[in-house]
Each structure stands twice: as structure tokens, then as C-alpha cells.
């Protein structure tokens, strides 16, 4: 089976020099591609989870009775939402990377940072998407009727209890479509981690088509297909979740 596939793509590369699917017959390039795919999936999962947590916590803090907490959240949103994610990546990695603690390597010269470029990519992309998520959840929270919240208050719920048990579950349902959009964007934004040399899918693909110019079109095709599949999985999952959480009579049917 595998032999048929490799010989097919070898023949294809021979007949059409611009369609050299090198990674389908050269094992080194194949593992390069797989490694990139793994890193992209890791970045996607980590950033999606972390950014949703940031969104939920941020939206709660936004309703805090303390003025300085609200100002802090507002400052965070303005900073991260209004600057380009690529600039944030470079800033985090090169500027903040210099003042974060490092461990001196065994050669006595290299300094291995506690937070690697992968770490910085996850942090920076999560904070970027998280700032949007805060606003998305705020919209959901504001859609929860005032009377519902007052009812919770009158039943003796604390602010935290009413947020976790009442407001958030209702708000979540309203926020899901907008959240879905933002998370799709987040997955696509992980490719920008190439700027700080994170070996994700785009990084490896650029590497492959630079080493083998004849593999340019095939590699680009694979890039597109992979992202369509990755985003497709996320969207399908989110839709399923949206459906399972539907309350008859609440929100759009």
C-alpha cells in the first residue's frame, strides 16, 4: 500500500516537475511535516483552552465592584486587542524574553530561557485571543436578563455563585457563535508563530519548499487542506456543543 503511494508520487514528480510531493516518498520530509502538524495542533489546543479561561475570568472581573480591577481588565483588553498579534509575539519573545529568568547551559554561554519560544507563542496568542473572548463573554452576560440576576441575589447567591451557577451557563449559550468565530481565527493565527521560529506547520512547510523549490505547490496545497480540516473539526465540535446546550425557548432556535 505505502509502496504504491510512494511510487505514484515519485512518478508524478518525474512527469510534472512542479508537483513534487516530496513528503509522500521522502521519510525525512514526511516527519518534518508531521512534526509541524503536531506543533500546530499543540498550539491550537493550548491557545483555545487558555484563551477561553482568560475570557471567562476576564468577563467575571469586568463586573467586579472594585474600580481598579475593572480598569485593569479594560487596560488588558485595549492593549492586546488593539495591537497586531505578530508584533506581540516579537515583543514577548525578544523584549520580555530578555528579562525573564534563564538557566545557563552546560557550555557556560548559552542561556536556556525558562519560557521557550513555544511557551511565548502560547502565552502571547492566548492573551491576544483572550482579550476578544472577554468582550464576547461580556456580550453574553449582558444578554442575561437583569431580573434573573436579581432573583439569584434575592435567593442569597454570592456574586461568585451567581456568576458560576447562573449567569455564565446562560451567557455561554449566547456567546458561543461569536466565540466560535474568534477561535477559528485563533487557530489560523498560530501560523504567525513562525516569526519567532516555532517549528509549527507553516515553518516546516516554508523549510520544505525552500529546500525543494519543486515542492512549492504541493506543500501549499497540503497547508490549505490541513487548515481546512483543523478548523472544520473545531467548528463541528462547537456546533455540536451549541446544539447539546440548547434550552427550548431561550435564544434563537
Amino acid at each position: 500500500m505505502i509502496e504504491t503511494i510512494t511510487s505514484f508520487f515519485l512518478q508524478l514528480a518525474d512527469d510534472y516537475p512542479r508537483w513534487n510531493f516530496i513528503f509522500f516518498y521522502d521519510s525525512f520530509q514526511w516527519w518534518r511535516l508531521v512534526g509541524g502538524l503536531k506543533m500546530t495542533i499543540l498550539l491550537s489546543i493550548a491557545c483555545v483552552l487558555l484563551s477561553v479561561v482568560i475570557g471567562v475570568v476576564g468577563a467575571w472581573l469586568q463586573g467586579s465592584p472594585k474600580r481598579w480591577v475593572r480598569l485593569l481588565v479594560q487596560g488588558y483588553i485595549q492593549f492586546f486587542r488593539n495591537t497586531p498579534p505578530f508584533v506581540q509575539l516579537l515583543f514577548f519573545y525578544f523584549a520580555l524574553g530578555q528579562i525573564t529568568p534563564t538557566i545557563t547551559g552546560p557550555d557556560g554561554w548559552t542561556e536556556v530561557p525558562l519560557i521557550s519560544n513555544v511557551g511565548w507563542a502560547i502565552i502571547s496568542l492566548s492573551f491576544f485571543a483572550g482579550s476578544f473572548n472577554v468582550e464576547i463573554f461580556r456580550a453574553g452576560i449582558e444578554a442575561v436578563p437583569e431580573s434573573t440576576r436579581e432573583a439569584a441575589d434575592s435567593l442569597g447567591f454570592s456574586r461568585f455563585q451567581s456568576y458560576v451557577e447562573l449567569v455564565l451557563p446562560l451567557a455561554f449559550r449566547v456567546s458561543l457563535p461569536a466565540l466560535n468565530n474568534n477561535l477559528v481565527n485563533l487557530i489560523k493565527t498560530t501560523t504567525q508563530a513562525i516569526g519567532i521560529a516555532v517549528p509549527e506547520l507553516l515553518y516546516e512547510c516554508v523549510g520544505i519548499w525552500n529546500d525543494y523549490p519543486s515542492a512549492l505547490y504541493p506543500t501549499m496545497t497540503v497547508l490549505f487542506v490541513v487548515f481546512i480540516i483543523l478548523v472544520g473539526i473545531l467548528v463541528a465540535g462547537m456546533h455540536k456543543w451549541e446544539k447539546s446546550m440548547k434550552i427550548p425557548g431561550y435564544g434563537a432556535s
Binding site: 512542479r18 508537483w19 542561556e111 515553518y203 525552500n210 512549492l216
Partner: protein, 278 residues
């Protein structure tokens, strides 16, 4: 199986319009376009001192920009410079975003299948590293398993990975890669020896050195569209490079931009010498 295979490949070929690679005749499309609009668009580097870089007021200058300007002057047309990177210079040319490029490209067999590289070559460089004096590297082998900063699009990334098991951390630009080296994120920066030589001479890298023997010396070539390599454009550029060698213009530019004199240029100047001149 065979029929399916033929059907599939034909489909792919038809979809993307690549049926065979034979170049039947010269249409000189790009050449004519350049002549018609009175402007040639040339891709050059913007981050490769002193071949192509930005001076204090932001304009592109360097040895290759001088070459590009001379091309424009000889053609009698205006020159528009487009900054390109190692990883996109060939694609820009293919898409017609540039008419040609002079962008520190090593002349490689697989690249000649994508773009036209008229002969003769105009420069040469080998692969070396810039590393801190403190580490005192002597051999390429000492780099095995270590993280070395590199540049996306350099052909020797693959070679040093395969030959010495180096872990290349490739950045999109030279500036980022060199910053990562200064930040001690890697033990060395692997690049063209000529570029490293001029960085070291600039005085900005006093704690660093170029300690190894250069490897894989590879001539550089400028590029025209593949279809026009054996037509007017390619032939014209061959003539330009030949004349730069013969007149000693390249050696003069080398001197002007403070590049260490290379035997390659001296040899070519000698080889192409006009036999009637003394």
C-alpha cells in the same frame, strides 16, 4: 491503476496549466513589458549588508543595488526596487511581481528549474558560522545536536542539518536571527561567510568570531524569468555580468562597499580580459 494515474495527473496538469516544461519559442513578454512601460522592477535584499540594505534615511543601497541601477541605465529605463527575502524571491519573479532579481542567491541546480539564471555568476560565498569567542569552536562536528540560529530559505540549512546533525532554528529575517544569537538563544548563526565577514568588520559583533573553515562554496546568480533565460532578457543579463567582470566593475563595487576581496572576482576579471588591451 495506470489509467487512473494518467487521468489524475492530466487533471492536475490541466488545472494548473503545466503541461510539459519545454520552452518552444521566445515570446519575450517580460522584456517587452519592461520596454513598453519604460521601467524595470528588480527584486533586491533589504537586510543583507552590504549587498542590499537600508541606509540611515531608509533608502535601499548596496552592491547589488548599484548593479540593479546599472542594469536600468543600460536598458535606458527607470528602476523600481522591490525588497525581497530568500524565501520569496523566486515566487515574486514567477508571479511577475518583479521582472528580475539580484538578491544574493546561490546558483543551485533545483533553482534553475524555477527561474532563469544567466551565466556567468557574479559572486561567490561559502557557509560559515558566527559564534561567540567564548565558546571557541574549531570544527563543524562540535555543533552536533546544538541549536544554531539560521535564516529561512538558505540552502545550506539542509546540508548542515544532514551532515552535522545541527538543530537549525530558522528565523524569517537576518535581524531576528542575529538578535537571537546575541540573546544567547543559540550557540551560533549559520550564514554566508561573506555576510558574516562584513558583520564582524562593522564592529558591532566584537565578542564574536567566524572560527570554522567555510564549506560548500557556491557561486551567486541573478535571475530572470525562466521562459526568457534563452531569449533577449537572459542573453542581455549574461552580457551585463560579462562586462562587469571584464571591466573590473564588480571588483570596484566590492571595494566601494568594503567587502573582503575575493579570488573569484579577480580570477574572472583575468579570465575575461580583453586580449587586445594591456
Amino acid at each position: 491503476m495506470k489509467r487512473k494515474f494518467i487521468a489524475l495527473t492530466t487533471l492536475i496538469a490541466l488545472t494548473f496549466g503545466f503541461v510539459g516544461t519545454a520552452i518552444a519559442e521566445c515570446t519575450n513578454d517580460v522584456w517587452n513589458k519592461v520596454m513598453d512601460r519604460g521601467k524595470v522592477v528588480i527584486g533586491v535584499k533589504a537586510d543583507y549588508k552590504p549587498w542590499g540594505f537600508r541606509d540611515a534615511d531608509g533608502s535601499l543601497v548596496g552592491m547589488e543595488i548599484d548593479m540593479a541601477m546599472d542594469v536600468g541605465a543600460t536598458l535606458g529605463v527607470e528602476v523600481e526596487l522591490v525588497p525581497v527575502q530568500s524565501s520569496n524571491r523566486m515566487q515574486f519573479l514567477e508571479q511577475g511581481k518583479t521582472d528580475m532579481f539580484i538578491a544574493t542567491m546561490s546558483d543551485r541546480d533545483d533553482r534553475r528549474k524555477i527561474v532563469g539564471i544567466p551565466q556567468p555568476n557574479y559572486y561567490t560565498s561559502g557557509t560559515n558560522i558566527m559564534s561567540p569567542k567564548a565558546l571557541g569552536f574549531k570544527e563543524w562536528e562540535e555543533l552536533r545536536g546544538k541549536s544554531v540560529c539560521g535564516k529561512q530559505g538558505a540552502f545550506y540549512n539542509k546540508i548542515v542539518t544532514e551532515r552535522y546533525g545541527v538543530n537549525i532554528v530558522a528565523f524569517t529575517g537576518n535581524a531576528e536571527a542575529k538578535q537571537a544569537l546575541r540573546d544567547k538563544k543559540c550557540v551560533a548563526w549559520v550564514y554566508d561567510d561573506s555576510s558574516i565577514g562584513s558583520d564582524l568588520a562593522s564592529g558591532d559583533f566584537d565578542a564574536f568570531e567566524m572560527p570554522l573553515m567555510s564549506e560548500d562554496d557556491n557561486p551567486w546568480g541573478l535571475a530572470v524569468p525562466l521562459a526568457e533565460n534563452n531569449c533577449i532578457f537572459g542573453r542581455f543579463m549574461s552580457g551585463m555580468v560579462f562586462n562587469w567582470h571584464q571591466s573590473g566593475q564588480l571588483i570596484e563595487w566590492e571595494k566601494k562597499w568594503g567587502i573582503k576581496p575575493t579570488a573569484f572576482l579577480a580570477d574572472h576579471h583575468e579570465k575575461y580580459k580583453d586580449w587586445l588591451s594591456n
